[in-house]
Amino acid sequence: MHRKRQAIRDHTAEANLFARRATIAFIIVTAMLGIVLNNLYSLQVTQHDDYQTRSNGNRIKVLPVAPNRGLIYDRNGVLLAENRPVFSLEVIPEKVDDIEDTLARLTSLMAITEEELTRFESNLKGTRRFKPVVLRTELSEKEVATFSASKHKFKGVQIEARLARHYPYKETLTHVLGYVARINKRDLQKLVEAGQEDNYAATYDIGKLGIEKYHEETLHGTVGYQQVEVNNQGRIIRVLNVDPPTPGKDIVLNIDLSLQQEAQRILEDTRGAVVITEVKTGGVLALYSNPSYDPNLFVHGISSKNYSALLNSPDRPLINRATQGQYSPASTVKPHLALLGLEDGVVTEDYSIKDNGRYRLPNVSHVWRDWKRWGHGEVDIAKAIEVSCDIYYYDLAYNLGIDKISEAMQEFGFGDYTGIDLYEESNANMPSRGWKRARFNQPWYIGDTIPVGIGQSFWTATPIQLTHSINTLVNRGERYIPQIIRGYKESNGVDDLIPLKTSRPIQINDPKNLDIVLNAMHDVVHGEEGTARFAFADTPYESAGKTGTAQLFTVAQDEKYDEDEVDERLRDNALYVGFAPFDNPEISITVVLENAGGGSSNAAPVARKLMDFYFRGRTFETVNVDSESEE
């Protein structure tokens, strides 16, 4: 466009030029808005589904809801582990006008410690303003009441309740129930490995010990979910949908609380363990290890001071002596050895030896002694059990040899886990040639075999193993695995019992052999020379049993040498195994008392008291003790 500059403007031409340009501009404007519209069409129509999904992903969150943990009852329906609301005091920062003032007024209301304040201040910084910050946990009922009364004066302060485990019988059942505590990193890793992390997404506590741990899956239940709408800060605006959790099953134990309490009461300050089972089912009526401790300490996180006190106590309260304590079984295994001797044929009912208190082997200078210095004189197998003659068993062990003993005793469960529903179990040790070679790189000497006859020489057993082996004898070879759990509590009030667990029975060739052994155990209690006859004098019921006294073994092998305590700690362990009533056995008892002295005078009376308690109020047909022992 070439134009000459003119003095007089051509207004029409300029107007036309502008109109043209304005039209072009309008076309461009329309085209560009068309581009915008096209882009919006692509977002809102073509990609709508994708953005709809992302929009929902933004606002809809699925939150896990923790199931309520199953409760634990004893066999009579007494609640042993409950879920109790614990109250904590929380502050929602955005709702509080003056935090300093609120804290000051709260402090005047209840004793808030410096530690709690410090923790609160630091938590306050890292939390979103609408999220509650915990100021004080485990409020007492009085504190809850005090605060509730003046709640209106504290805007933005609230009491939050959460269900937490509580064990009302405290240390009485710790070694049975165990406890739950907060899920830690290691628990989480295990849950991940088991593919259970989703199920525990909202769960606070997990079983750490005992029944709580062993039956964790049953007690925990299944997580539920709620679908919520959240805003950009994660604040829940409303609940859209709820898929409720399935609570854990309430379980019923074989435990009889009163019997358990009696065991605790009788043991008092004595270190040791008591196991009482229903002979015909293997159900554990009482399992008490002394000393014990309060499991509630662990539920809310035990203080390091309390924990190290438990950990470093010379009495080792954390160990479950009933299932983890490894003791020389001593004479309590003589009945088993006697049965083996009879079944194997190395001895007969009539075979007897002359016991003068000493036992020696050809070409061996070592002399093994009887617990009775001058010996028991002429001793057959029945008397060997009744008076607990050591010489007879030295001879028996010598004649059987370690291989037969080891194999047969393993069949009774020695050296192996019983399978009781506790993870805290030791397999103890049933020695053998192979074991000694592996353990000490030494051959098995004949001298090692002799004390095996009296349940010593590397042979260790846990109280639950002793119980299991005695039950096996009483059940004539049938083997019911000791079980603490009995069944599930149903809403109709009738417990849904769990089938009994058994393991491979022991084959008994001649039932008469077993009768000889059981009768001899009867004579231990009721015979003229029975080692437990004083302890069980004048019981209304008839029982049978075997005493044991083990030298110088304690549960702890790495214990420090402590001069002040050495005498007490070097005393013998007292043991007793027994069952009653003799005719129709209901219960078996194992008592192990550390450093208590002889089994007859220390362990047997404990067993007696527990049997008395168990049979209290029951009447029994009077029986002629003498005629029984004549058989």
Binding site: R21, L43, Q44, H48
Partner: protein, 371 residues
């Protein structure tokens, strides 16, 4: 002013009070849509509603007052306003108040003032004044001088830094030159020059946060929780709105606050989420209607200054719309440009309506002059 006043048979009355009824209709409808959207976008905040309503009222009053002054007044005012504005821009760079990391405010003791807002009008006025002194189409050296009048304030404002405003001011001046009839040859040449200028801007004039915005625009998903968050959430809001929208007050992206700046720069995302593509088309039609009316008024203007200024004001209004919608939908990088008469906020709205006041003066005062 009652709504009943805006009827064709009353146009003569409107003419007397120097109001263009068709333009006013468009602006009122748009303001109404804006208030409805803001009610939702502010989270039903009545305080914000009240403040916005007050601003709108003030802006309409400013428009009505400015409409009373004849275009010749603005023509005579142009050089003074431009030079004054330029001095104030320099003053801002030297003594201005800091606000949100940018130096935009000038504190005159009794009032805090953004000179860049004044320049939004002063620049197109100056360019129109200068170019219209000569016959159209303008000669090359006039165009060159015109561009200098545009570039100087643009660079000063870009240095504050205020990329959005400098963009608006640059376009307003360029539109005046374009409408004056700058030859297509020259347009291509300038286009090439601007293309060459882009790298200089990138390396010497843009601040880091501005560069970051551009990078984020190019790939928002590279940092979805950081700088890309705004644009991603905005696209989710728009996209999830679909054809029919989620309904007024029902937009989850906006009501649950996933959308940042939802009542200011990103209010169009709220609108799109709640009213869908259908609503978007209606809103675009309203804007297009206002632009069309503005261009018609400009075309009918009697003198070149009025034509150029009116056209420039109208097209700058379009730039607001285009840049805002483009940036919230991911078409353009995020520069702080509000959606005119819909976004919450004061200063730019007053400037915008002042522009429409001048447009109404142009629309209604020509007959008085010709008489």
């Amino acid at each position: 002013m009652k709504r009943t006043a805006i009827t064709p048979d009353k146009i003569s009355f409107l003419q007397r009070v120097h109001i263009d009824g068709w333009l006013l209709l468009g602006l009122l409808v748009l303001s109404g849509v804006g208030l409805v959207t803001l009610y939702s976008a502010s989270g039903q905040d009545m305080g914000q509603m009240q403040r916005q309503f007050t601003r709108l009222a003030v802006s309409f009053v400013v428009m009505a007052v400015l409409a009373q002054l004849p275009p010749g007044f603005y023509r005579r005012l142009s050089p003074i306003a431009f030079v004054g504005g330029l001095l104030m821009l320099v003053a801002v760079l030297l003594f201005g108040d800091m606000g949100k990391g940018a130096q935009r405010w000038l504190d005159l003791g009794f009032i805090r003032f953004q000179p860049s807002e004044l320049m939004k009008l002063a620049v197109p006025m100056m360019v129109a004044w200068y170019i219209s002194k000569f016959t159209l189409p303008p000669r090359t050296h006039h165009i060159a001088l015109g561009f200098i009048m545009v570039v100087v304030p643009t660079v000063l404002i870009a240095k504050q830094p205020d990329l959005g405003t400098s963009l608006l001011i640059a376009s307003s001046g360029v539109f005046a030159i374009f409408l004056a009839g700058m030859s297509w040859k020259l347009i291509s040449l300038v286009g090439a020059l601007v293309g060459a200028f882009a790298p200089i801007m990138w390396f010497f004039l843009m601040k880091d946060y501005q560069k970051q915005r551009v990078l984020t625009f190019l790939n928002p998903e590279s940092d979805p929780l950081g700088s890309g968050y705004h644009i991603i959430q905005s696209q989710i809001a728009i996209g999830s709105g679909g054809v029919d929208g989620k309904g007024w007050l029902q937009g989850t992206q906006s009501q649950l606050e996933f959308l940042p700046e939802r009542h200011t720069d990103f209010i169009f995302s709220v609108f799109s989420e709640e009213f869908g593509l259908t609503g978007v088309i209606v809103l675009l039609a309203i804007y297009l209607y206002i632009i069309m009316r503005g261009l018609i008024i400009s075309s009918r203007a009697q003198d070149a200054f009025s034509k150029l200024l009116g056209g420039s004001i109208t097209l700058t209004f379009f730039v607001y719309v285009f840049v805002n919608m483009g940036m919230v939908s991911g078409l353009l990088p995020v520069v702080g440009v509000p959606l005119p008469l819909v976004s919450y906020g004061g200063t730019s709205m007053v400037t915008l309506m002042a522009g429409f006041g001048i447009l109404m003066s142009i629309a209604t005062q020509k007959r008085l002059i010709s008489r």
